[in-house]
């Protein structure tokens, strides 16, 4: 029996084998992988997600609100991609490309992300209940938007916050 061909593209994680191997094998020191920079990116991502969700509520549904939301959404995507690189794509890397240490780090991040997400969902549920379980469409879509963006970005954000700066002496 011949071995199955190794996958080149991982559709669910939206990464290629080459990308992950390059990220994990990069030996060049990078300021992007220092803890202060990673944490700054996490804060920037959190703010851009909130702004993307509530832009219309805060700035009105006119042109300004739309621009702010669009800009915040663009910033969210850009910052998320940079943060992904700064954590060496660990959150999105498939298990077969990781070793036991990196699998443990990734899995711990997902566990933390799950409990954080429960907390976020609890807050959103609390807002819903406080509003008598009825929300206006703009508020409802903002809440859903925050929830789904948080869900998508959280494992990466947890890694960005918790991973220590990389030692130059690998």
């Amino acid at each position: 029996m011949s071995e199955p061909k190794p996958k080149k593209f991982y559709w669910i994680q939206l990464v290629t084998r080459k990308q992950v191997e390059a990220a994990l094998g990069d030996e060049r020191p990078s300021r992007l992988r220092s803890q202060p920079v990673r944490r700054l990116l996490v804060v920037a991502l959190s703010l851009s997600i909130i702004l993307a969700a509530v832009g219309e509520l805060v700035f009105g549904d006119g042109k300004l609100g739309t621009y702010v939301e669009g800009l915040a959404l663009f910033a969210t995507v850009v910052v998320y991609l940079v943060l992904r690189r700064s954590v060496r794509l660990l959150a999105d890397a498939p298990t077969e490309l990781l070793d036991e240490r990196t699998v443990a780090i990734r899995d711990r991040a997902y566990t933390t992300a799950y409990w954080t997400l429960c907390f976020v969902a609890g807050i959103l549920a609390g807002i819903l209940i406080a509003n008598g379980l009825s929300v206006e469409p703009p508020q409802g879509s903002a809440m859903l938007f925050v929830f789904f963006l948080t869900m998508a970005c959280l494992p990466c954000m947890v890694l960005g916050w918790t991973l220590p700066s990389e030692s130059t002496n690998h």
Binding site: G25, E27, D99, E100, R101, T102, A104, S167, N169, H170
Partner: protein, 77 residues
Amino acid sequence: MSRQKEDPVFNRVEELRNARGLTRQELADAVGVHYQTIGYLERGEYSPSLLLALKIAKALDAEIPELFSIKPFKKGA
């Protein structure tokens, strides 16, 4: 937190790797992990699984007790 914070595992991987003239990358390739993992392991920031410890021992042609211990190694041992 990782378990090595409570139960440190001391090792002589760096010493034996250097004695065998291997780079971290070469050892990492031999045991199937990323080069960074060898660095974390040598600095005592990561405790390997039994399987990885056995692979490292084989790659360095050493016995597990020569490489890993729950007590600090004596200098020059």
